[in-house]
């Protein structure tokens, strides 16, 4: 039976672990990596559908499925999926982001067959009826209240994406706008399932203690008969170049100003991405980072500063998040950041400073591969977002090749005011209505 599989690629996924990608005739991908250090398996199903595949007015659809997929199927009554997994001692969960959705099972190795059967069942036979959909809709609205409406960091994140992107689907939140979540119609929900939840839009990633041939036989038995779907052409929207700074401010019940700055950055597979990742570390990725030392330690104008380069398929953002200290303002912080970036633009960092960031990147790389879940997530992300799990190694190598000149160059190219969006939450003042400044 396992002869139906086609071996497409293989690469290392950590010390002593090799990941191999196979494909069935119906398009289903399988990445298998044997790691027998514990009697467990990570079984993840990655679908190449995320919030970018939604349309305005129906945002939150991809994320809603993260909930619905744990519901009733033709073979399983409501709640049975979770009960079957939990009875083994295992756990299930899911995550949705802009480029992908994935479903995660952590199972005792002896229960791998159960996991494959459950995942195949819900890929084909999910029951989407009014009752359970409405129940999960309520849960999602409460999730949104907890993570966005009542969470200033969630609000900053949502506003940043909404204002940094004007055309690209990255502009709407993965969880969806509240009014859209409430309005998602059952026929559209069913259509979304039929469209995207298909073998030719999925890759199964399995890492842990299993026999590879038995796994392939199991998957072929449960998935081999599923026909591929006619996947829609995904329109690749090009975000117009940003030419002016955008600033959004709003009052919130908080103690001090908080700000989130997003500089336009390339997608994760762009060669500049690695240099910007090093920049992110140099600015705020460690205790000796430039902005941390300047804002938190020297000036004491901020209580925290973080940097993150979002690993998106399409052009994304390098984000700086700052919580100001008492008696200081967001505007003051922005001025300091500008001065620090100007210094970095004019004078490349020393070779030792770049080597420092590389050493930290090396530690991060290995840390992400410590357990079977981490390995599966890393492989799944690169496969789903960039089309090839081997990018895990490619990007690690690109990071080691970054030079001080690369750093100065990408700072000059990307970290300029005209290409940034700033969202500021300020302590509430009854006389200060929500406002937008300097919009294009």
């Amino acid at each position: 039976m396992a002869q139906s599989w086609h071996l497409e690629a293989e690469a290392s996924a950590g010390r002593g672990v090799t990941a191999r990608r196979f494909r069935l005739a119906n398009g289903l991908g399988l990445i298998a990596a044997i790691d027998r250090r514990a009697p467990i398996v990570a079984l993840q199903t990655w679908f190449r559908v995320g919030s970018r595949h939604e349309r305005p007015g129906a945002t939150g659809m991809a994320h809603l499925f993260e909930h619905l997929m744990f519901g009733q199927t033709e073979q399983l009554p409501p709640g049975e999926f979770d009960r079957m997994v939990e009875r083994t001692g295992g756990e299930s969960n899911a995550a949705t982001w802009v480029d992908w959705t994935y479903y995660r099972l952590s199972l005792p190795a002896r229960d791998l067959a159960l996991g494959v059967r459950l995942e195949a069942e819900r890929m084909q036979h999910l029951v989407l009826e009014t009752g359970p959909v409405e129940s999960e809709r309520d849960v999602v609205t409460n999730e949104r209240r907890e993570r966005v409406e009542d969470d200033v960091d969630g609000w900053l994140d949502e506003q940043l994406m909404a204002h940094a992107f004007t055309e690209h689907p990255y502009r709407w939140p993965t969880i969806g706008w509240m009014e859209d979540i409430r309005a998602l119609a059952l026929p559209d929900i069913r259509a979304f399932y039929r469209t995207w939840y298909a073998p030719n839009n999925a890759t199964i990633v399995c890492v842990g203690d299993f026999d590879e041939q038995q796994l392939r036989e199991l998957i072929e038995q449960h998935y081999g008969h599923i026909p591929p779907a006619q996947l829609p052409e995904v329109s690749h929207v090009t975000e117009p170049e940003q030419t002016r700074e955008r600033i959004v401010r709003a009052p919130k019940p908080i103690a001090t100003d908080r700000l989130l700055i997003g500089y336009k950055a390339p997608g994760q597979d762009d060669r500049d991405w690695a240099a910007l990742e090093i920049v992110s570390t140099l600015l705020a990725g460690c205790p000796s980072a430039r902005l941390h030392r300047k804002l938190v330690i020297q000036d004491e104008s901020a209580s925290s500063v973080d940097a993150q380069l979002t690993p998106f398929r399409d052009p994304s953002l390098l984000r700086l998040a700052v919580t100001t200290a008492r008696g200081h303002s967001a505007d003051e912080i922005v001025q300091t950041i500008d001065r620090e970036l100007a210094t970095l633009r004019e004078t490349p960092p020393s070779a030792s400073e770049v080597e420092k960031a590389k050493a930290l990147a090396e530690t991060d790389f290995w840390s992400s591969l410590v357990d079977v879940d981490g390995k599966a997530e890393a492989l799944g992300h690169y496969e789903a977002a960039l089309g090839d799990f081997r990018k895990l190694d490619v990007i690690a190598k690109r990071l080691t090749a970054v030079t001080a000149e690369d750093v100065a160059r990408v700072v000059r190219s990307y970290l300029v005011p005209a290409k940034r969006t700033i969202v500021i939450a300020e302590p509430e003042d009854p006389d200060a209505p929500e406002s937008e400044e300097d919009g294009e």
Binding site: R37, R83, G89, V139, R258, I297, E300, S367, V372
Partner: protein, 430 residues
């Protein structure tokens, strides 16, 4: 005791070594009125040691690709390190300086005193963290675990550099340490690392400031109380409900582990099913006995829409009362037992996990392997034994409920939730 407790979990999976150095004591040993002292001392020690000031220490660690973080629990202060194995000796040398020769500079002491109130601000901005902070304070105010590890605006004013230094010297003695090493390290290297970490420390004795498990009135009956932490513009209520319960390691711990799993430790548990699945009132709901060296809280948590915050608290209390009186069903016990036994391999899958569990057990003064072996005990328990433990330890009539929400919208509904007399406090007063 003679020397530190040492736990080594070798594994060559990655070129990384993790180490945890736990110093027994922790926030429960903070002097009354000087809450936050342990945290202050530990953070200060990390801000310069040996020949390096803060900037030099940070720069050296970062250049090695390493991390050295401080965490403070009720029972211990822990230095958690991560190093590439080729740089382990250099990172351990820096850590040994932090333990034996911290600078405790005046400049950093003053800076930290200015910084900490801003951490309080960040907690006030975060509803979930704020609910936990208030609950920890008010669940049992006379209990050592009611003392905040962070401190308060007023207690921070009483922290002196000399007191922090003296505390560090008193508690950072070899006999008071639990040292865990995991990852790309062999036993011989581990022995050398332990020697390096402790060679400049006095052997010392267990400090007398560590709170002992005596005189804690875990049977105290307080009745129900409800504290509404008023914060403007909320759309939800962050809810905590609980009471002082037993110590992790008490003979009933295995039975209570089953009880907490069946009530709120899984997606299939009662709280999740009743609050999220049946009613859609919340994204989640769960419960746990807090793991600590002394008796600690049994706590239920959820976050409900503000319009259903009153009914949600009332329902939760009704579920809790029913559970305490009748316990889990036979089927629920069977299910939870199966889950707990099957889940243990996930908690001990990596060397780091095994090391951290063992360090925690040692800090809690439990027998070696206590947590890892718990499933074997759990597997033998009957449903009647679990129900009897629920009756002994769950006290729904003595619960403290904390709800962080907007009083104007939620006060009336919460008043009618049968959660006891309601007190409204402002979110920024603690």
């Amino acid at each position: 005791m003679s020397g530190p407790v040492v736990i080594v979990e070798p594994s060559p999976d990655t070129p990384l070594v993790w180490f945890d150095i736990s110093i027994r004591g922790g926030a429960s040993a903070d002097p009354i009125g000087i809450e936050g002292l342990h945290r202050h001392a530990a953070l200060l020690a990390r801000r310069g040691a040996g020949t390096r000031d803060r900037a030099a220490l940070d720069e050296t660690l970062d250049s090695l690709g390493a991390a050295l973080d401080i965490s403070v629990s009720r029972d211990s202060v822990t230095l958690s390190g991560l190093a590439l194995s080729r740089h382990l000796d250099a990172v351990i040398a820096l850590c040994a300086d932090v333990l034996a020769d911290p600078l405790f500079s005046e400049e950093e002491h003053a800076r930290l005193l200015r910084e900490t109130p801003q951490v309080l601000d960040e907690i006030r901005d975060d509803d979930s963290a704020l609910a936990t902070r208030w609950f920890d304070w008010l669940c049992c105010p006379t209990h050592p675990y009611g003392r905040t590890s962070l401190g308060t605006e007023s207690s921070l004013l009483r922290i002196e550099r000399q007191a922090a230094l003296e505390l560090w010297k008193k508690e950072v003695v070899a006999n008071n340490l639990v040292i865990g090493l995991a990852g790309d390290i062999d036993e011989a290297t581990a022995a050398r690392v332990v020697q390096r970490l402790t060679e400049r420390l006095p052997r010392g004795n267990r400090p007398t400031t560590i709170v002992e498990d005596t005189g804690l009135d875990t049977e105290a009956r307080s009745g129900r109380r409800l504290i509404l932490v008023d914060k403007p513009d909320r759309t939800q209520a962050q809810i905590r409900i609980g009471h002082l319960a037993l110590r992790y390691g008490h003979p009933d711990t295995p039975a209570i582990s089953i009880a907490e799993a069946a009530l709120g430790g899984m997606f299939s548990s009662r709280l999740m099913q009743e609050i999220r699945v049946k009613r859609g009132w919340s994204y989640g709901a769960g419960c746990a006995l807090r793991r600590s060296r002394l008796p600690h809280w049994f706590e239920i948590w959820t976050a409900a829409g503000i319009d259903v915050s009153g009914p949600c608290v009332q329902l939760t209390l009704e579920l809790f009362a029913d559970y305490a009186a009748n316990g889990p069903t036979d089927d629920e016990v069977d299910f939870a037992r199966s889950y707990l036994v099957g889940a243990m391999p996930f908690h001990v899958a990596t060397a780091r996990q095994r090391m951290q569990l063992a360090v925690r057990d040692a800090v809690f003064e439990l027998p070696a392997g206590y947590t890892a072996n718990l499933p074997q005990v759990v597997a033998q328990l009957s449903a009647d034994e679990v129900r009897a433990a629920c009756a002994r330890h769950l006290r729904p009539e003595d619960t403290v409920t904390v709800a962080v929400t907007t009083a104007e919208q939620a006060k009336d509904a919460l008043s009618g939730a049968s959660a006891g007399p309601l007190t409204v406090v402002s979110h920024d007063e603690y």
